[in-house]
Amino acid sequence: MRVSAVAALVAVVMGVLVQGAGAAPSSSCPNAWAHGWQKLADKVGVPVYCPTWMPNPLDAQIGGQYEDIYSIGKDRSYLVSFLEHGDLGSGDVHVNFRGYPGRKAIPTCPGPVGKTTVPCFADPAGHMRANGIRATVYQVNQGADQWHILLAWHYRGSLYTVSQHVINPYDSATRIRQNLAHLLKSLVLVQPARG
């Protein structure tokens, strides 16, 4: 009985957190962020996903104060990363967006031991559906997504991901999954300009 009581209390608090964290998703990339995402879409030549919600305190303004990595490879795959680094022990908030134009397979990364390669995203742990996207949740990820929980999905023959680091203040996989669910719900497509 006491277990039920604790579980019920937990459920209430989790509910409050979920409701408090979310806001109704916009239907378009926020004005202040749109330019950067449009430029990215134009450069890689495929649609990219612009978030309309980010975990506090981040925004998703490419070239803004939280941008950490902006990288486009020769194969047009991209990594856009936003980071708030808490120097005074407040922790890190770190979100990565990736896209692999024309590629459906999960890429491979150098293995942690020996001269091996491993999938860059591994240990699938369920799915999330929102916004017309069915994303797979991956718990073990490599490179810039190490220590992150990651969502991956396909759209028109391309692979896309969004991930967030499991670290204080978002210090459990459960909380990160909640954030990722909000991110997924908030994504809007930015089409490349016809050229």
Binding site: R2, V3, A5, V6, L9, V10, V13, M14, L17, P112, V113, G114, V118, P119, A122, D123, Q139, V140, Q146, W147, H148, I149, V166, P169, D171, S172, A173, T174, R175
Partner: protein
């Protein structure tokens, strides 16, 4: 103050568990396993033996450990040794009379450290302490650090240790209070924990307890996991059977006067576990080959109980070959090189032990202690109130050297001088990269007849 999920759950757990601490939740989270009724006349001479039932987990026979565990360590402040011996034995007999020797009752194991033998019975010890004839060393060795231990690992110097095991926390608390009330004992630490609770389906006890305590990575533990790291470790075939861990059984030991016949060696350590590193950096396949052995294929995804019988044992040659091929060795595979019998063996009592039989008898249990539930020296023991995932590792071996062989093998140091060379705590080195040993000590566990102040009557 912002109410985080961890603070909330921690607060709720602390509130409901006031007085008994987080471990009282074990009673709420676990149903008591069905247990056989112990035979009153069947009390063994060995203190370390307790009759445990088995069950089937994913088709593998596994031992069901007692739900609750506690370890009490102490130093002695004693003038009249024979009187203290009588008092302790009286208390232990009172406990024996109250609780049958089974998980439904209580298992009590008393071990004694080198400081006791050196300070209190030095002359008798010279004559009677058993000697490891295989290693040409005393059975009870000074506690040491191992290659993967950090320099911060504390080598303890307790006189005595009490291991208490039961399905009922009240039984443990009753015994702990009776023992701690003995005036000549100065308790240095109390360590608590839990095990099992998940074999009958649903969420296991470690998962529930870790989530309730809000330890990092708790929500990544698979639901049915017997232990925090996700794999079952009490496969019957992976634990030493019967009296195999007695000093005398395998012939490793010169018992000298025979005073310690039916005794054994016990190693106690506390190991912190980094669950987030384990579950966020090692995918399932890598967790399998890290916990067991490289090249292990065809393991069903998310399986938790992996067979560990004699046919699954890795020999040294195979271990070395795999290491050179893959750059890693598994936890079980490396230890099996020393912890399993290399050939069919007949014990001194005529029992036949086939090749591949396990020798050590483990009694480890998960804990949320950080690192202990109580310490008489919180600064030295680096006590922290924040719960932390870990294991109080308890293992019985015929000798201290036998334990050391296994522990060194875990670090890639094999008997005969073979060394699987990797930097300490390297990711290729089994579990080591996610484990940190904080404390260690060796003890001698006398037979039940001499459990109270051994040698003091001589």
């Amino acid at each position: 103050m912002k109410l985080t999920r961890r603070r909330f759950i921690g607060g709720a757990a602390a509130a409901v568990a006031a007085g008994g601490g987080i471990y009282e939740l074990v009673d709420r989270f676990a149903t008591t396993p069905k247990r056989p009724v112990a035979e009153p006349a069947g009390i063994p001479s060995e203190q370390h033996l307790i009759n445990l039932r088995t069950t089937s987990s994913e088709g593998v026979e596994v031992v069901v450990p007692p739900l609750h565990h506690a370890v009490v360590t102490a130093k002695l402040d004693v003038g009249d040794l024979p009187s203290a011996q009588r008092q302790l034995e009286d208390v232990l007999r009172e406990i024996d009379a109250r609780y049958e020797l089974s998980p439904a009752g209580l298992g009590v194991t008393v071990g004694w450290g080198i400081p006791y033998f050196e300070k209190h019975v030095a002359a008798q010890a010279k004559t009677h302490l058993p000697h490891d004839r295989r290693a040409q060393k005393p059975v009870l060795l000074p506690t040491r650090r191992f290659p993967s231990d950090p320099s911060s690992t504390i080598l303890e110097d307790n006189d005595v240790v009490f291991l208490l095991r039961s399905d009922h926390i009240q039984h443990i608390e009753d015994a702990r209070a009776k023992i701690a009330a003995l005036r000549f004992l100065s308790v240095t630490s109390v360590r608590r924990g839990f095990a099992g609770g998940g074999f009958d389906g649903g969420q296991s006890l470690p998962k529930k307890m870790a989530v309730a305590a809000g330890v990092p990575g708790a929500d990544l533990i698979p639901d049915g996991a017997e232990l925090f790291l996700g794999f079952t470790s009490t496969q019957k075939a992976g634990l030493g059977p019967g009296t195999i861990a007695n000093h005398e059984t395998l012939g490793y030991v010169d018992l000298r006067s025979g005073y310690f016949r039916n005794g054994t060696h016990m190693h106690l350590s506390h190991i912190a576990e980094d669950l987030e590193a384990w579950y966020l950096n090692f995918d399932f396949d890598e967790r399998v080959l890290t916990a067991f052995r490289p090249g292990m294929t065809n393991v069903r995804r998310n399986a938790q109980t992996i067979p560990q019988g004699p046919s699954q044992v890795s020999g040294t040659n195979e271990l070395v070959r795999q290491f050179h091929r893959t750059g890693r060795f598994g936890h079980s595979a490396s230890i099996q090189a020393t912890s399993r019998l290399l050939h069919d063996t007949v014990g001194v009592d005529g029992t036949h032990y086939p090749k591949g039989t396990a020798i050590p008898q483990r009694a480890d249990f998960n804990t949320l202690d950080n690192p202990f539930a109580f310490s008489a020296d919180p600064a030295r023991d680096r006590m922290d109130k924040q719960p932390s995932a870990g294991v109080h590792f308890v293992v019985f071996n015929p000798t201290g050297d036998d334990f050391e062989r296994n522990r060194l093998a875990m670090d890639g140091v094999l008997p005969g001088g073979t060394k699987l060379s990797l930097p300490p705590r390297n990711r290729g080195q089994g579990f080591n990269s996610v484990l940190t040993t904080t404390h260690r000590q060796n003890f001698l566990v006398p037979p039940r007849r001499h459990r109270s102040f051994p040698l003091a009557e001589l």
